[in-house]
């Protein structure tokens, strides 16, 4: 049985088919919604640019790497094992939640780079840049004393953790208004997942309190801090973070750092006891 197709309709069908064949990407184009993931960091030529970010997406197997110093972002297509340069015009940012929408319709001439996976590390090389995506905990650790500003400038995961933490206002006010000279010595590790959860809370509390009477000393410890020599020796801790609270030069207590610990409440309690 033959089906009669009017000539006008046949022309329309042919036109559509031709359009599909000529620009398949335009039809298959998809917005890849990507969310920043602060468990991973981006290493660029052995350095960790402050604003380089890694994004996971709602599209399975696709990720996005944003290196603002480069003209284009990189869409990672894991099933295809390649990273594709995406022009900035294809990327829309949502400042409200930090997410980006990446239009994965890229010119056929867009540069694409082969990916390699080495255990927990994703690696590729663009024309002039070596890029690695790795867990933030796998970055070379901070070892030894470090200032508050240097730490949060260096560690994106701490900065973001601080942004996400909302401390109790009453406790912050109590910490802010104390005239007691308190020293806090914090021994932590940038390789330790537990410190990554706890330290941003403490840092945010002290930043909000901004009390010159409270002095914070931060000391990063190495993985083998039990045997390696350093300022952490003889401090009497075997787990980290270890947060020592000193008053008049003497250690009076240590802050609880378990999951769910609320540093501002505990500090406010200590201040209240000192009063």
């Amino acid at each position: 049985m033959r089906t009669h197709i009017p000539s006008g309709a046949a022309l329309a069908v042919l036109t559509c088919a031709a359009a599909l064949l000529v620009s398949p990407a335009a039809v298959l184009a998809a917005e890849v919604v990507c969310h920043p993931n602060y468990d991973f960091c981006v290493e660029v030529d052995g350095k960790y640019p402050q604003d380089a970010r890694f994004f996971t997406s709602e599209t399975r197997g696709k990720f996005y790497v944003d290196i603002p110093s480069k003209s284009s972002g990189l869409l990672i297509d894991l099933p295809a094992r390649r990273a594709i340069a995406v022009p900035a015009t294809n990327v829309k940012s949502d400042p409200a939640n930090g997410s980006v929408q990446v239009n994965d319709t890229v010119p056929a001439t867009a540069a694409a780079y082969a990916l390699s996976i080495e255990g927990p590390v994703l690696r590729f090389q663009t024309d002039a840049t070596k890029v690695r995506v790795l867990k933030v905990l796998d970055r070379p650790p901070v070892v030894g004393p470090i200032s508050f500003d240097d730490l949060i400038a260096d560690r994106m995961e701490y900065r973001e953790g601080m942004k996400q933490y909302v401390p109790e206002k009453v406790a912050i006010e109590a910490i802010k208004s104390t005239k007691k000279k308190i020293e806090i010595e914090a021994y932590f590790a940038t390789w330790c997942p537990h410190c990554k959860m706890y330290m941003p809370k403490l840092l945010e509390v002290l930043k909000l309190a901004s009390n010159p009477n409270i002095k914070l000393s931060l000391v990063g410890v190495p993985k083998n801090f039990g045997t390696e020599k350093g300022p952490w020796e003889g401090k009497g801790f075997s787990t980290i973070p270890a947060i020592m609270v000193k008053y008049e030069g003497k250690e009076i207590t240590r802050l609880a750092t378990h999951e769910g610990a609320i540093p501002e409440t505990e500090l406010a309690g200590i201040i209240s006891a000192l009063n």
Binding site: R60, P79, I117, G119, P120, K135, D138
Partner: protein, 296 residues
Amino acid sequence: MRFAGHAARLALGGIFIAAGCLKALDVAEFARQTASYGLIGAGPAAFLAPLLIALETTLGVALVAGWRPRLAAILVGMLLIFFIGLESWGIAQGHTESCGCFGAYVKRTPLQVIFEDLGFLALAILAAVGLGAWRAGARRLVAACVAAAACLSLGFAIASPRLPIDDLVTRLSVGRSVTDLGIASKLPDGGQGDTLVALLDMTDPLAKGAAADLNLVAGTPGAPKVIALTPSSEQEQAAFMWEAYPAFEVVPVDRGLLKPLYRSLPRYFLVRSGKVARVFEGPRPPSADLLSSPPV
């Protein structure tokens, strides 16, 4: 003195039978804990675990039944000295994990274990000295009981991982609250909505296949939310992400918190209104099964 010897024999025998039986419920965990001391690898530990369980149970039965009780007490004492040495060595090496002496469900620190073993050693000495040349009557029957105990305990330890006893020996069962299980804070909305939870070991060869099944569920409109809880390290999670690219959230959970919920991984269960609504059987239930939820 003989009365004290008998009391020590029966107490120690009971303790060793209990220790052997509890370990036999989760042989894989006992093997993992044994390997964690670093003296032997995972393979040899998996091979030795059922043998050690059978040895402990048999010695316990020998003490209770009175088959060569002095010899059994001496062997138990030697085993305890070995355990004390192993724990001390572990402490010196910074090993802080529970020993698994009474299976996966009784947790003590290595130091507590040493003190406990010293107490048991005192009982072994008391039994060996106090009993003198005493032996139970009906020796053939007693010997047959001990031989049967050896065979049964070895058989049970070998078969145990494949026996459908997960619901009996783990805390995960239908109707349990996720708050009681200690995982409420790890689940979306505290587990109030429908959530398919997968307990995954990212290093397990089965995990990649499990991720494919779970991706299918995660991508199905109207299906429950999918989440994986894992005791794996950050590095193992990253490697898993690159290899399996899961379309669901993977949440790291402390091993001590997760272990009471499984004997072997992967394990799946459905959470609804803050309670376990269904526990799926087997390491890889069919996707269609995972997608079918019990009616509200």
